[in-house]
């Protein structure tokens, strides 16, 4: 965020809006300390229910989305977006000058769920949020784990579960080393359970599960 604050100040005369979006089920209270610590003067909005992650179809952060004044998305980068990255910064600069920002990077995780799977994941996520709001934290996590089982590559769901189960690893500071170890342990467990392959979770049939017969050659 300090890099973005510097960028915002350097472009104070430009006619554009810089908005950071915090994907955090804990709500504005969780985002506020980071914003205040960075002295950010641009708004941070909180996407508590993952509305934009579903709308835009991303599964991890940090991301950048450039929207022109007509509402057209002109460029996206899902994963690894940073104003401290020279190439990313150059894209934003071009965009704000009214120039063509260039092609969007290829999504590093092109695996997509089918429409029915996606609807089921969203339903489970929303159920989890409703349960959390009702004070049923354990049931909420169970619902989110159901969503993660269907969409194991989705790091926003995975981190949401971690934040609920291990809040001390996320607030007031984020323990990225712990996350790395936790992800490796969970990946290993998922590979052992047959949820994911050894190179990740590109398997296109998590809904089919282990009980579904393999497709015949005639299919």
């Amino acid at each position: 965020m300090p890099g973005w604050q510097h960028f915002s100040q350097a472009h104070a005369a430009a006619d554009f809006s810089l908005v950071s979006v915090a994907i955090d089920h804990a709500g504005p209270e969780a985002a506020r300390p980071f914003v205040e610590a960075a002295g950010a003067t641009f708004p941070t909005v909180v996407d508590r229910y993952g509305t934009l992650s579903r709308l835009l179809g991303f599964k991890a952060v940090p991301n950048g989305v450039l929207v022109d004044e007509d509402g057209t998305i002109r460029w996206t980068k899902f994963g690894g977006f940073s104003i401290d990255d020279r190439d990313d910064a150059a894209v934003v600069e071009r965009f704000l000058r009214g120039e063509e920002p260039g092609p969007s990077p290829t999504d590093p995780a092109p695996y997509r769920l089918g429409p029915l799977e996606r609807e089921l994941v969203e339903t489970k996520l929303r159920l989890g949020h409703l349960l959390l709001d009702a004070g049923q934290g354990a049931e909420a996590v169970a619902a989110w784990r159901g969503a993660l089982r269907l969409d194991p590559e989705n790091l926003t769901i995975r981190k949401q579960i971690w934040a609920a189960e291990h809040p001390a690893k996320f607030h007031p500071t984020i323990d990225f080393g712990w996350q790395k170890g936790q992800l490796a342990a969970e990946r290993a467990a998922e590979v052992a359970a047959g949820v994911c392959g050894p190179d990740g979770c590109p398997l296109p049939a998590p809904l089919a599960g282990a009980d579904a017969p393999p497709p015949s050659p005639a299919d």
Binding site: S17, L18, A30, V46, D47, L55, L66, E69, T173
Partner: protein, 34 residues
């Protein structure tokens, strides 16, 4: 991009359509710290 409305860190509403009236919008997504 469809319009959307969210709440900022102070509890104030923020809407994409209103921001677009001022010009282009740069959305940066993250979770917690940077």
């Amino acid at each position: 991009m469809n319009d959307f409305a969210l709440t900022d860190q102070t509890g104030q509403p923020w809407r994409l359509a209103e921001a677009r009236q001022q010009g282009a919008v740069v959305l940066v997504f993250y979770r917690g710290d940077w």
